[in-house]
């Protein structure tokens, strides 16, 4: 049985607690990286992470990219959409096809 976690700054994620997702508010980069590994080990199947936080933890997230579990999904934070989530989709197209043929415009 897996759980769902939300990782990011407090203001961006506190609402998810009401839905029954486990929220973990972190601010410092090192703390976030540690938390991420801990969450993976604790059996979280989906980890939603704010785009701002994901940008800092690029390296850590890449480690789990090729595992079925966990799915680490970027969501926009309270400060707005940075486009990082859309870019990650584009990046996977690029990886598969060789160049972005679908969403380049």
């Amino acid at each position: 049985m897996y759980k769902i976690a939300v990782l990011g700054d407090y203001d961006s994620i506190y609402g998810f607690a009401a839905l029954g997702l486990d929220t973990f508010s972190v601010t410092a980069r090192e703390e976030a990286g540690e938390k991420l590994h801990q969450l993976v080990n604790d059996g979280y199947g989906i980890i939603y992470i704010t785009e701002a936080m994901a940008a800092e933890l690029e390296h850590e997230i890449a480690k789990y990219q090729n595992q079925v579990i966990p799915a680490i999904i970027q969501i926009p934070g309270i400060s707005g959409n940075t486009g990082a989530g859309v870019n990650s989709v584009k990046k996977s197209v690029e990886q598969a096809v060789g160049s972005d043929i679908l969403f380049s415009n």
Binding site: L21, G45, V68, V89
Partner: protein, 219 residues
């Protein structure tokens, strides 16, 4: 190139020929796999993009609602209201095999029977904006789960496609041409050897005749 290290023997020739047939067969299979993976990937990635845009728009508007809700009440009340969630979502992960790529299938279960049972606070001390904010976030949750599923599947498939593509290219541009070159080299070398031994035999015959009968064919 590697062809210089090939020993031109019949055994090597048979081995190389076998290698070539395997490589050609493997190349065809991998190419089919790549094409099918690519077809499914493109469908999936389009769905992924749609979901992502929907989710991002949903979260943006939910965040807006939360800011308004937060403005209408003091922080302590808000924190208390959301401190003890009533609802709990647990996740079951299945696996689906698409062209030998394992992709996750998520199904969720909520703790209480009614999935709309999301208000973890009494309505007396919180603003009604909070109810709307929580509701707007709850509405987007199913799409978020779907997004997680498709996005993960896309990532895994992209990695697999890349791997398959490299294999196809390696077979097509390196392994197969090399095997063909080796086969050609070995056959030529074997023919050459055969000719040279034939000539040697003829020469020996000449010499033996000359010695036995003082007879020269060339004379």
């Amino acid at each position: 190139m590697a062809s210089t290290q090939v020993t031109p023997t019949r055994m090597e020739l048979t081995k190389t020929k076998k290698k070539l047939t395997t490589a050609v067969k493997g190349h065809k299979l991998l190419k089919d796999k790549r094409d099918e993976l690519m077809r499914q990937f493109l469908d999936l990635v389009r769905e992924n993009m749609e979901l992502r845009q929907k989710v991002e728009a949903g979260i943006r508007s939910a965040n807006k609602n939360f800011v308004i809700a937060k403005a209408g009440m003091d922080e302590a009340t808000l924190n208390t209201a959301l401190m003890a969630p009533k609802q709990e979502v647990s996740l079951e992960v299945g696996e689906k095999n698409v062209m030998s790529v394992n992709i996750p299938v998520f199904t969720t279960k909520t703790r209480t029977a009614d999935a709309n049972d999301i208000y973890s606070y009494g309505f007396a001390f919180t603003s009604s904006d909070l109810d709307g904010a929580v509701k707007s976030l709850a509405d987007i949750l199913p799409d978020m789960l779907k997004l997680a599923e498709t996005e993960k599947a896309c990532q895994l498939m992209a990695a697999e496609i890349e791997k398959t593509r490299r294999r196809v290219n390696a077979l097509e541009h390196v392994i197969i041409p090399e095997a063909q070159k080796n086969i050609k080299y070995i056959t030529m070398k074997l023919d050459e050897n055969e000719r040279s031994s034939q000539i040697r035999l003829m020469k020996v015959k000449d010499m033996m005749l000359e010695e036995a009968h003082h007879y020269s064919e060339r004379a």
